[in-house]
Amino acid sequence: MIRLLIPLIVFAGLVALLIAGLQTGDERKLVQSPLIGKPVPDFSLPGLHDPDTVRTRDELLGEPFILNVWGSWCWACRVEHPFVERLGQEAGIPLVGFNWKDERADALEWIERFGDAWDFHLVDYEGRVAIDLGVYGAPETFLIDHRGIIRHKHIGPIDATVFDELLRRIMEMQAEAE
């Protein structure tokens, strides 16, 4: 009797493994950046409205800020835009746009059309700084504390389900900075 059950048990085990594999498949998207807990990489990047103004990492430190990676070519950035606007209104810390691999004219047109939710933008046309940040898609949103440590990264569009969580983390960073 037991002998007959062994293949069945092995089979059930395999099925369980495969089901587990299918369900964890999506968790890859949630894999957090290896940069969390580490300082934001050094950069100096021009602005979007003001290409002659170059901002460096060190200039941004001292207070927490949000770094929101976007591009006019990015469809999901349109989807998250209302939430980015709300974040800008409610966060109380600088909301920095990271305009990634875009054309200046396209980016300006996009902002004209959908609204400029950000305090200012950094432009990374070449994508070099984006590589240092481990950006692999847009939109992505980084929360960086007053010491310049990357505290959180949200991959994909900000939506209603993550908005409160982001806000909570931002409050936490603000409290620490004071």
């Binding site: 290896p34 940069l35 070449e126 994508g127 590589i131 481990g134 692999y136």
Partner: protein, 125 residues
Amino acid sequence: MVLVLVPLLALGSAIEPYPFESELQEQRFKALAEELRCTVCQNQSLADSDAPLARDLREELFRMLQDNRSDQEIRNFMVERYGNYVLYRPPLAGHTLLLWGGPIVLLVIGLIAALIVIRKRRQAL
């Protein structure tokens, strides 16, 4: 003639022609591009992908090779930014032990099972 042919040859693959310093450098480039995963693609290596990010990363890879960085340094550079996910061959560590050891364990179990079955059959004869 060569100048005309080189860009034509490049049309066939995702890899753009880089001015490699030596054949060795080119081989290292190809090997690394094969073993690094394009993080935005569905299971494609940096060598296979036409995605803009893959193109950027290949450029970075080429730059690092010219900078005389070792293969391991280049792998570390990628892992520091994108995590172990970029490696098609993940490192041997606690959480990857099952991945590396699993097939061997299964093979051993299979062999033992086969041996038992063969012995039983012989006894039955």
